[in-house]
Every structure is written in structure tokens, then in C-alpha cells.
């Protein structure tokens, strides 16, 4: 950004975003439904933007994002449950809660990141198709693992997790993931990722440690999926394996593909759209006075519609909404435009 002293450039977005997020939370305190919807939207944005780092910028094909979300959710959830009775006495309760929440979120994220490393390292050495299978399998293994482990509540799930994740915390992490994605995309590391996406052999020949970069992108992406899961666990009353199925993974894939593989803006827009659409349809059906079951059907119809949507997208507009561009590259010329290229 021109006109901003270099030293401040890094910190500026943070300084702006924090007050905005806090104001938001206060404004919506009165409407639990709006809060819930926005929280879900926030989680979806985090998932989509983080998956975009791997599927979009690096051109890989991971379809097990929900698995990492599950790891973050369960680890954070279990930790929160065990810390339930403790509070930092020298801080007001609300703040103490947030501190603990932040702590368990980070731990959940790190756990997910470690899983990302373990899963990514062997599979990223191989051809692209294999990563898809392995990530799919990983999601399933996590599901089976949770269903068979008492500590994670088996099939019934975990309940009673302190509901401390408000819009403030969710908004904060949305902001962080978008910042990370944007900064990454514009840096030399991001350029290397794009190069891998374009031509892995050439990138390797130009000195890019392709396997290392792919793994690192994967780890970062998994970390944020874990954060998203942890947040999710702290604003829904109960979590069970059913919340983190292959369906969820595919939802995120649809968001990224629809938004445009490689575009952070696209991922955000698609996530918002695909979170609001089912709700809008539900309300529309209810308002039309249709039988209650039709509104329920929205959830079910969603899935085959997503499937057909993917097929239609690939046949008609494979680059999705934004392709690899960001919002400022698409806006009309009279807005000040950044120089073309990545950075």
C-alpha cells in the first residue's frame, strides 16, 4: 500500500480490524440466530481460505479438510472440558475464558498441523491423485478413531464444552487466516507455491524444494482447519463425528472451486454464499408456507445440487468465479489498482 511507512505496514491491518470485530460482536449480542449464522460463516471462511492455500495456490488436491477440522475440534474440546473449573483469578471471567479459549484453539491447531505433516509428507511425494485418496482416507480414519474412543465421546459426541467462542474470537481468526493467505500469496514463498502449481518439474529445476513447500503449505492449511474446528466446538452445544464427515470436506472443496482455485477473495465470497444460500432457501420455503418437510429437504437437496454444481462448473467455467484473481484485480479501472503480478 503506498503512502504507509514501511514499518507500520505489517501491523496496520491488525490495528484496523480489531476494533471492527469487537464492535460487531457487541452489536449482534442480542440476536443469537444472527450470531450463530455469522459464526458458522466465519468457520466456513477459515476452512475455505485455508484449503485454498493447498488446492488453489499450490495446485494440489486435498479432499479431507474436515478430518483436520475434527482433530482441532476434539483436541480443543477435550482440553476445554478438563480446564472447565479453572479460571485465572486475577482477570475478569470473560477475559480469562478468552485466554483459555485461545490456548486450547492454538493447541488444537497445532495438533491438526502435526496430523497434516504426518499425512502430507508421504503423500506429497507422489502424484497428485494420490493425495486426494489419502486425505479422503485420513478423514475416515479420524472418524473411525473417534467413534471407538471413549475420551472423545464415541458416536454420541462431546457435550458441555464451554461456549466461549463469540463473534470476536471467530472474527479474529477469520482475519488472521485471510491475512496469512494474502501475505503468503504476495511473498516469494507464495510465488514458489504458484510455480509448483504451474509446473512442478520446472519449479524443482529452478531450485524450489517442491516437496518441502507442498508439505509446509499443507501444514499451514491443516493448522487453520484445526482452528476452525476448535472454534466450532466452542459455539455449538455438542460435537460428534457426524459434523466432520466427507460431506463437510466436499462442501469446502465446492467453495474453493466455485470461488476460483487460487483466489482468496473467491474462497471468501463462495463460503459466504454457500453458508447463506441454504438458510435463505429454508426461510423462503418456510415463508411460502410450504410443508415443513420441504424446508428440511433443503439440507438433503443441498448435497446432490453441490455435486451437479461441481460438474457444471467444470464443464462451463472451470476457473470458478474469480479464477486466480483477487477482488481488486476485477474491479473497474477507476479504483486505484495495484501493479499486475503477485507482488
Amino acid at each position: 500500500m503506498p503512502g504507509v511507512p514501511p514499518g507500520l505496514r505489517g501491523a496496520l491491518p491488525v490495528l484496523i480490524a480489531l476494533p471492527v470485530v469487537v464492535v460487531f460482536e457487541l452489536l449482534l449480542a442480542g440476536s443469537p440466530f444472527a450470531t450463530y449464522l455469522l459464526s458458522i460463516m466465519g468457520v466456513n471462511i477459515i476452512l475455505a481460505v485455508s484449503l485454498n492455500i493447498v488446492n488453489g495456490m499450490t495446485g494440489q488436491f486435498s479432499i479431507g479438510h474436515a478430518g483436520f477440522m475434527a482433530v482441532g475440534a476434539y483436541v480443543a474440546g477435550v482440553l476445554s472440558l478438563s480446564l472447565k473449573e479453572i479460571a485465572l483469578s486475577f482477570l475478569p471471567v470473560a477475559v480469562s475464558d478468552q485466554v483459555f479459549l485461545l490456548l486450547v484453539l492454538l493447541l488444537g491447531g497445532v495438533a491438526a498441523a502435526v496430523c497434516g505433516f504426518v499425512v502430507g509428507l508421504p503423500s506429497l511425494r507422489l502424484r497428485g491423485d494420490y493425495l486426494a485418496i489419502v486425505t479422503l482416507g485420513f478423514g475416515e480414519i479420524i472418524r473411525v478413531f473417534v467413534q471407538n474412543t471413549e475420551m472423545f465421546g464415541r458416536a454420541l459426541g462431546l457435550s458441555g464444552i464451554p461456549q466461549t467462542a463469540g463473534l470476536g474470537m471467530v472474527g479474529f481468526w477469520v482475519f488472521v487466516v485471510v491475512l496469512v493467505a494474502r501475505r503468503l500469496a504476495g511473498s516469494s514463498h507464495g510465488r514458489s507455491l504458484w510455480a509448483i502449481r504451474e509446473d512442478e518439474v520446472a519449479a524443482e529445476a529452478m531450485g524450489v524444494d517442491t516437496t518441502g513447500y507442498k508439505v509446509r503449505a499443507f501444514v499451514i492449511s491443516s493448522f487453520f482447519a484445526g482452528i476452525a474446528g476448535g472454534l466450532f466446538a466452542h459455539f455449538v452445544p455438542i460435537i460428534n463425528p457426524g459434523s466432520f464427515t466427507f460431506v463437510k470436506s466436499m462442501e469446502v472443496v465446492v467453495m474453493v472451486v466455485m470461488g476460483g482455485l487460487g483466489s482468496t477473495t473467491g474462497a471468501i465470497v463462495a463460503a459466504v454464499f454457500l453458508t447463506l444460500l441454504p438458510e435463505a432457501l429454508r426461510s423462503a420455503f418456510a415463508a411460502m408456507g410450504a410443508e415443513g418437510s420441504l424446508a428440511q429437504k433443503v439440507d438433503q437437496i443441498r448435497m446432490p445440487v453441490y455435486g451437479l454444481l461441481l460438474v457444471a462448473l467444470m464443464l462451463l467455467r472451470p476457473q470458478g468465479l474469480f479464477g486466480t484473481k483477487e477482488i481488486w484485480e476485477v474491479l473497474p479501472r477507476w479504483l486505484p489498482r495495484r501493479r499486475k503480478g503477485l507482488a
Binding site: R125, V311, M314
Partner: protein, 306 residues
């Protein structure tokens, strides 16, 4: 000992079913270099077609020989048609595009089918599992000891049908002119086209054969499990895919070996360990294979021309 034998038989029986589905995956990958995620769901559609046919025939006719044959033919024929349509309208337009595009499309179709069939609107059956009609009356054909080991008629029939289909496929691929065309297309479809091979037709027929085999496998599976549900395609499909990868994707006999291995290991895990870990077995093996020998048992990781 007897238990071991029983597990062995069960494992082989389910292994042969996986093999039939795995063959479809491996053949399609061979000619198109595409992992057809929708393969398992096409199988599921075939099973429902067979189910509908069985219902239409009524309780008596469905058990007769010609009834069973008809059910199989309808399911396999219907699946062949479905496979043809999918290839023609969803995959062929994307043949020259990057592989990722086709992969995403395959997943889209898989989703549309498996979740579409879970809706109970119109002819779509709905999510609840249904009992598959008893088209083969289960009779015990071989009993060893005091019911220590029981071999059922349908197990033997399933094994024979599966082996028969596989032998037929081997013959087709290696002994006929068409099979040679298939193999040529799998090596390089552009060069094959230049040699005068009708690539489009070869690929279409490959799809049809693979889908028909899957339908047959699906019916055998439904007979074994005595239930059908829209999600069976995903699970059986995924395991069959793992089997194909274990054998080396693109390698026809490898798929069979991989499937048999998977069937046996799964059966032994269920028998001697805990049955709830069954689903994780397939993926566990997959990850081990991918780490140890990425090309699978028989396959070779093709060197990319630089």
C-alpha cells in the same frame, strides 16, 4: 483352525466382489488416467435397478433361474448405459483439460448420485437401507464338523460368477483385437488415434464393461449383505479403489490380487480384532502401501517425460 478356514472363505468371497469393482477402476484409469470416483455410485444405481426388477418380477419369479439372470442382465445393462452416458457427457469434453478438472467432475457425479439417491422424491429411493429380496435362497452346501465351517451356496456362486467374469475380461484384454486396442489406448491415446484406433469408442466400451462388472459385483454384495442403501456405493467403491491401488492402478491382474488381499485382511481384522475398525483397515493398508511402494505391488510409477 476351523475358524481360520471360515474366515479364509469369507475373505475370499468378499475379495472377489471387491475385485470385480476394482477391475472397473483399474481399466478406466488405464485408458483415461482418471480415477473415476463415481464408479462405486454407478454400481449402487445398478443394484437399485436390480432391486426394482426383482420387485417387479414378484416373489416367485425372482427366485427362478431366468429371473435371476434377468435381474443381473438388467442391472449390468443399465449400468453399462449409465457409464456410457457419464463418459460421453461429463468426461469426454474434459479429456484434453488438466486431470484435476476431470477429477473434480468425477467427485461431483459421485456426490450427485449417492446423495441424490438418498432423497425420497419421485423414483429416488431414499436414505433408509432396504432389504434386498432373496433371489438366491441361502442353502448350506458344505458343512465341516459341527457347523465349524459353513460354505453357503451363494458364496460359491458368487465366487464362480466373479471368477468367470474375470477370466472373460482377461481373455478380452489379452486375446482379442479389441483388447489390444484397449491396451494401445492405455499406453498413449493420441498415438493410438493416429494408428487408426477408434479411441472414443474404445474408451466408451471400456467404461461400459467396467460399469457392468461393477453392477454384477454390487448385486453379489447385496445378496451377501441382504441390504441396499444409497451410500453402499461410496464404501464398497472406496475399498475397491484401495484394492486397485494396492495392486498397482492400471494393472488388471494386480487389481484382483489387491482385492483378494483386502478382502482377507478385512475379514481377519473383523474376526480376530474389533469389527468397528473394519472401515479403517482399508485406508490403513492404503497409506502403508503408498508409503512403502507407491506404484502398488505390480505397477510402476511412470517416469514423467521431461
Amino acid at each position: 483352525m476351523a475358524q481360520l478356514l471360515q474366515h479364509l472363505i469369507n475373505g475370499l468371497a468378499s475379495g472377489t466382489i471387491y475385485a470385480l469393482v476394482a477391475l472397473g477402476y483399474t481399466m478406466v484409469y488405464g485408458v483415461l488416467k482418471l480415477i473415476n470416483f463415481a464408479h462405486g455410485d454407478v454400481m449402487m444405481v445398478g443394484v437399485y435397478m436390480g432391486y426394482a426388477t426383482a420387485f417387479a418380477l414378484g416373489k416367485q419369479a425372482q427366485k427362478s433361474l431366468w429371473g435371476v439372470v434377468l435381474i443381473f442382465l438388467v442391472a449390468m445393462g443399465g449400468c453399462a448405459l449409465l457409464g456410457f452416458l457419464i463418459e460421453r457427457f461429463a468426461y469426454r469434453p474434459l479429456r484434453e483439460k488438466p486431470r484435476l478438472t476431470a477429477l473434480i467432475t468425477a467427485i461431483g457425479i459421485s456426490f450427485a448420485l449417492s446423495y441424490g439417491f438418498q432423497l425420497d422424491i419421485g423414483f429416488l429411493p431414499g436414505a433408509a437401507p432396504r432389504a434386498f429380496p432373496e433371489i438366491i435362497v441361502p442353502t448350506e452346501w458344505l458343512i465341516i464338523g459341527d457347523r465349524d465351517v459353513v460354505v453357503w451356496n451363494w458364496q460359491v456362486m458368487s465366487l464362480l460368477i466373479a471368477v468367470g467374469l474375470m477370466v472373460g475380461l482377461q481373455y478380452l484384454v489379452f486375446k482379442t483385437r479389441f483388447g489390444r486396442a484397449m491396451r494401445a489406448v492405455s499406453y498413449d491415446h493420441r498415438v493410438a488415434a493416429l494408428m487408426g484406433i477408434p479411441t472414443d469408442r474404445v474408451i466408451a466400451v471400456t467404461f461400459m464393461i467396467g460399469s457392468a462388472l461393477a453392477a454384477g459385483a454390487g448385486l453379489l454384495y447385496a445378496i451377501k449383505d441382504t441390504s441396499v442403501s444409497p451410500l453402499m456405493g461410496l464404501y464398497v467403491g472406496l475399498k475397491a479403489f484401495v484394492a486397485a491401488v494396492i495392486g498397482g492402478i492400471g494393472h488388471v491382474p494386480g487389481a484382483v490380487v489387491g482385492a483378494l488381499m483386502l478382502g482377507l485382511v478385512e475379514e481377519f481384522v473383523v474376526g480376530y480384532a474389533a469389527s468397528t475398525w473394519r472401515d479403517a483397515v482399508a485406508f490403513g493398508i492404503l497409506i502403508i502401501v503408498l508409503i512403502a511402494k507407491p506404484g502398488g505391488l505390480f505397477g510402476r510409477v511412470a517416469a514423467e517425460k521431461v
